[in-house]
């Protein structure tokens, strides 16, 4: 139990279903926050995490990868679904209204702020922290992985935390 992170969310998945953190109990949750218009951080992180899941083999079947939007104005369930199914099909997208996504972000202590960005077609970006969270099977915080960790380090940590040693 980490008193600093109490992961709670009440969002829509990219199929339009209402979900909370309790929806996935019985499985581990691998949670990353971002936005589909992100040009560098999210593609890099999602690719890395997909590699991690590939590396985990059968253990990955016990893990639900989640990509939570910090840009709900643009990231509708439909947008999230199209983005993820095209490039990061392991992930389920979560989004919602401004209040709901902010509540989720606050619960996970994720930083995100809307900034003007002349290179973006809509004129803004949402810089955010690139931390990946691992929730236990009871939807409590188990660990987090900062962006500086390599895919192999994350995979090793997940095996260790989920009770499956590397072969």
């Amino acid at each position: 139990m980490n008193p600093n992170v109490v992961p709670r969310y009440e969002l829509l998945d990219h199929h339009g279903n209402s979900v909370t953190e309790q929806h996935f109990t019985g499985r581990y949750q691998l949670v990353f926050f971002g936005f589909t218009h992100c040009r560098v951080v999210c593609p890099t992180a999602l690719t890395k995490l997909s590699t991690v899941l590939d590396d985990l083999g059968p253990l990955a079947d016990r893990i639900q990868p989640l990509y939570v939007s910090v840009d709900p104005d643009r990231d509708t369930p439909e947008v999230m679904r199209a983005f993820l199914e095209a490039d990061h099909p392991r992930f389920l997208g979560l989004t919602g209204g401004t209040e709901a996504t902010e509540a989720a972000r606050t619960a996970f202590r994720v930083f995100a702020t809307r900034k003007a960005d002349p290179d973006d077609p809509d004129g803004y970006a949402v810089p955010h922290t690139a931390v990946t969270y691992l929730l236990d099977t009871d939807a409590t915080y188990l660990a987090h992985f900062p962006d500086v960790l390599e895919a192999t380090e994350i995979a090793d940590r997940i095996r260790e935390l989920c009770g499956t040693s590397a072969t």
């Binding site: 992170v5 202590r109 994720v110 922290t129």
Partner: protein, 536 residues
Amino acid sequence: MTTTIGKSATPAVLGSRQVPLLSDEQVGHIRHVDNLSRLPRGDWRHMAGPVPFQEDFSSYRYQLGYMSLAMALAHYHRLPAAPAVFQGQLDRLIRKMLEPDAWSYWRDTSTQGGFGPFDLPRLPSRTDPVAVDNIMYSAYLQVMTLMYTMLFDDRTYEQPGSLTFSMRPVLWGKDRHESFEYDQRTLNERIYWNMVENGYLGVACEPYCVFQICNQVPILGFRLHDHIYGGKTAEEVTTGYLAAWERFGGSVNANGHFHSYVVQQNEVLPNDVLVDRDLAWTDGWLGMLMNMWRPELVRTTYGTSIEQWLDRADDGLISVRDLSRIPGTDVYAGLGTLGEMGWLAAWASEMGDQEVVDGLLAHADRYMNPQWENGGLHYPRRDETYDENGKFVLMPPVVSNATFPYARLNVADGLRTLFERPWTDRERSRPALTEIGDSVDIRRAWYHEDVRHLQLTASPRHGLSSTTTDLALSRVWDRGEWTLAVDGVVVANGDDTTVTPNGNGHRLHLRRTGDELRLTLDVGGHTDVDMYWSNA
């Protein structure tokens, strides 16, 4: 961009002949800090400043924080074989940091409202001084405890509740009090998550105000925590810090000075505001700290900015320019208490610019009324900026008690080296002086691993011509045959377990007590104690 953690090329070991004796002034600073650390609860003599509410840079938290850093650097670089001099005082400074006098200001400061040109939201009062914001206190406590563990391998502050903030005013009645319990790991974690939540830009000092300066301190804390407990937090945070400040143009402004702070957007302020003024205290204070992980940037900034702040006299003395005045006005920004001379001296010491360090301290020694008290050196507080002859004489307590000692005791890249190579069991298992009476100063304490030589020099503390002290040497057994000499005269021999005094040694009451070799020493002038182990 990459950071430079763990990549220093500075030498780790000095040869015997390269270890100089500490000067009278250097040991005087150590003694003064020790004296302050021993003052009873509530006695803040020599530390009280002119500004109420613990709002300025002579607040107790800063003095205690930089006194601790100065003493840690002195132990690490100057007297590594003398934990006896430093362990007790660093522990006492931590305990003073836990006194409500040092942190209870937060119940008021946390309510915010604005500073200078900014109107900021009012917030509810918070008592817990480390839970949210207030990195200007929490990070210093974080580093003080982790540094203590690193230097002495003493695990006191990893015990649950060992860092407890207790507010129990008598007049609140017997059932009302507030108490917040932490230890060095839970404190570190709290600061870490505050840093993550703010996108690694840093944790605010007063609400909404994120200063570069105070966010260097937790980076040192994370580094020490990684070293002691494992992890890559420092690397994570410094990588994120670079990206976060890049959104404000980086850490340095167009004039070659460090950016000071960001006021973050809130319900009153629609956008983040970068406070970008050329400030001597920001340059000096940030430079002395940030060198630990961005040495190239800091050295470049030093080269372009330091001379702008210095007022050089023909006789080689150096003071500082009229720094506190807001440009274009007659208004002083900080009531004359910003301590620029000390921050700049400390920065120069980290840069290894001994000419500037010596010039600033020589000015202080000539014009700032140095005083000796109970063997300690200090400069009495003075609130006027200039004397009747136009000499710069301003002396805030933080300069006398913390930053001048820091500058005089630091070495080139001193904090950087400590950051990159914190001590391990290797350093902490070497022979060392672990007990000493308080009537003597230690001028030299070094174990030369290559030649198996423990080299100590003691002197009577300032004001005494001679004295007698008991001392204890530890970690000296099970290393083979040895010889002990006092002032070059052999007084004893020994082996793995026993001590055999010779004719000269009997008057020293040499004896083994548990893990220590103890002796009673007459000290007049500089007295050398040397212990050599055979190489066989």
